[in-house]
């Protein structure tokens, strides 16, 4: 691995992690001896075909499930439980349909007993950030799917997380909404640079958003393939049609196809 990066402090450290689903007496191995470091202020995309275990890895980092073996550290401390510091954006609609937009964004702050003006300021600021200031009193069913996703992102960001864990958040969106949300996310991320792990099966999305790509394969014993994404920031929509971008995309696909 790259010397220069390894000297930096890892925010998330994964060493020799193994996980298998138990189905009765059978065991379904998802991955073995998996290792990956995610550094501070870095945007890492975890890419792979469906069923390879990328969402499982994200859920383990989030603390929803426990790994079988291996080391899993967040800022040097073992991950034992769910924490607001490792905030998850789910693929499914996760904003609460019985609360309006404001209450949804406020939820984490109320849970953490942050009161008064500070709480209100954070909610207003983050709704502005995702461009939903005019929908404060709307209920989720009055919003489009893309807008609900933006509420979800605002809710998570307002809650001061150290790390963003995004589990195919744009997976169920149409191409146009997806593109606009990618641009919005990039714009926000370039402003705050939260450490981020973004799971997707869309390689183009991964190349566009991330600093580094970790490619996961179906074979549970295959180590992650790491690619540095060389494109500078700020990223703009035209990057996707750039010749280097396309070249890198086809290289990774080739490598994945022939298994290296």
């Amino acid at each position: 691995m790259n010397e220069k990066i390894d000297n930096k402090k890892a925010e998330i450290e994964i060493r020799n992690l193994s996980f298998a689903y138990k189905l009765g007496k059978k065991k379904l191995e998802i991955f073995n001896n998996l290792s990956l470091n995610i550094y501070k202020n870095e945007f890492v995309c975890l890419v792979g075909p469906s069923g390879c275990g990328k969402s499982t890895l994200l859920r383990i980092i989030a603390g929803f499930i426990k790994p079988d073996n291996g080391v899993l550290l967040c800022k040097g401390e073992e991950i034992r439980d769910v924490s607001y510091k490792r905030a998850v954006v789910f693929q499914e609609d996760a904003i609460f349909p019985w609360m309006n937009v404001y209450s949804n964004v406020e939820y984490g702050l109320v849970s953490r007993k942050i009161d008064g003006k500070l709480r209100n300021d954070k909610v207003i600021k983050h709704l502005e950030l995702v461009g939903l200031s005019d929908f404060i009193n709307s209920y989720p069913r009055e919003l489009s799917y893309g807008m609900r996703k933006r509420v979800d992102i605002a809710r998570v960001l307002a809650n001061d997380p150290d790390i963003l864990l995004m589990d195919e958040p744009f997976g169920a969106l149409d191409a146009f909404t997806k593109e606009s949300l990618q641009l919005k996310l990039t714009e926000i991320w370039e402003k705050y640079r939260n450490t981020c792990l973004f799971v997707t099966h869309d390689l183009e999305e991964a190349l566009f958003l991330s600093d580094r790509i970790a490619l996961m394969r179906t074979d549970p014993n295959a180590p992650l393939l790491i690619y540095e994404v060389p494109f500078g920031r700020p990223r703009i929509a035209q990057l996707k049609t750039n010749i280097d971008f396309q070249k890198m995309r086809s290289n990774i696909i080739e490598e994945f196809r022939f298994g290296k």
């Binding site: 607001y84 904003i95 609360m99 984490g108 069913r141």
Partner: protein, 251 residues
């Protein structure tokens, strides 16, 4: 305003009834006519108000206590694994016992008192709601619960702000069924030795072969039951305005 279709049906039924009874096609012992009903109503006018109030009081108390108890039990079974493991099998054993089969035992143990009758209604209601509550909790989309915990919510906060509102729309169905059943339970409860109340009056009317009186009381029960159902539906539509369902009137 459009004329409601349901009123046409009711109107036709009443018309048939008036025609059949005025032409004396059926013995008034089985189906008494309108005049007979009015006579019976006037004949009972001195006992009916108190009887209605008593039945209303018993049903509403039993229904209220039973609902709170049932929902609480359901929540507790979901919240505490220990509670579920120690009490769950016992509930599973008790639940299928027909509640009306318990009447003799209730009478024997607690005597023919108002408290006994209310407890009987409450038991019948709580069984329905306990099961429904627990089942609805198990069907909550896991993503809401995970998201809430992930945002830093405590377990009690998750129950208060996620689980309760989430199960409410599912629960309303069960609450309406229980409300309807509680009137039936009230009739049965009053059959076990009450001295006032609509059910008791019904027995008296039956003893004197006054079918008109029985029908008057049935109609009063109907009006009470429909009113309670309407109130619950009002509360439901106010509390579940957030669901996609309330936006949809017809599939």
């Amino acid at each position: 305003m459009k004329f409601p279709k349901s009123l046409i049906t009711i109107f036709i039924i009443i018309l048939i009834w008036v025609v059949i009874t005025s032409l004396k096609l059926v013995d008034p012992i089985f189906i008494p006519g309108p005049v007979n009903l009015v006579d019976s109503l006037l004949g009972m006018s001195d006992t009916l108000p108190e009887a209605t109030l008593r039945s209303l009081y018993m049903t509403l108390s039993g229904f209220g206590i039973g609902t709170i108890l049932g929902v609480f039990m359901g929540l507790l079974m979901a919240y505490s694994k220990t509670f579920l493991e120690t009490m769950g099998p016992t509930f599973d054993f008790i639940r299928p016992v027909p509640i009306f089969a318990m009447i003799p035992l209730f009478l024997l143990w607690f005597g023919p008192k108002v408290g006994t009758q209310i407890a009987f209604i409450a038991l019948g209601v709580s069984v329905v709601l306990g099961v429904s509550t627990y089942e609805s909790i198990k069907n909550i989309p896991i993503v809401y619960v995970r998201a809430a915990f992930n945002l830093g919510a405590s377990r009690t906060r998750v129950y208060r702000t996620i689980i309760l509102p989430c199960i409410f729309p599912h629960l309303v169905g069960a609450i309406r069924v229980a409300a309807a059943a509680s009137w039936g339970l009230d009739v049965a409860a009053e059959f076990m030795g009450s001295q006032v109340g609509l059910g008791y009056n019904m027995i008296i009317q039956q003893l004197y072969l006054n079918t008109g009186g029985v029908i008057v009381i049935v109609i009063i029960y109907c009006i009470l039951a429909i009113s309670l159902d309407l109130i619950i539906r009002r509360i439901e539509s106010a509390a579940t305005r957030w669901t996609e369902r309330s936006a949809m009137s017809h599939i």
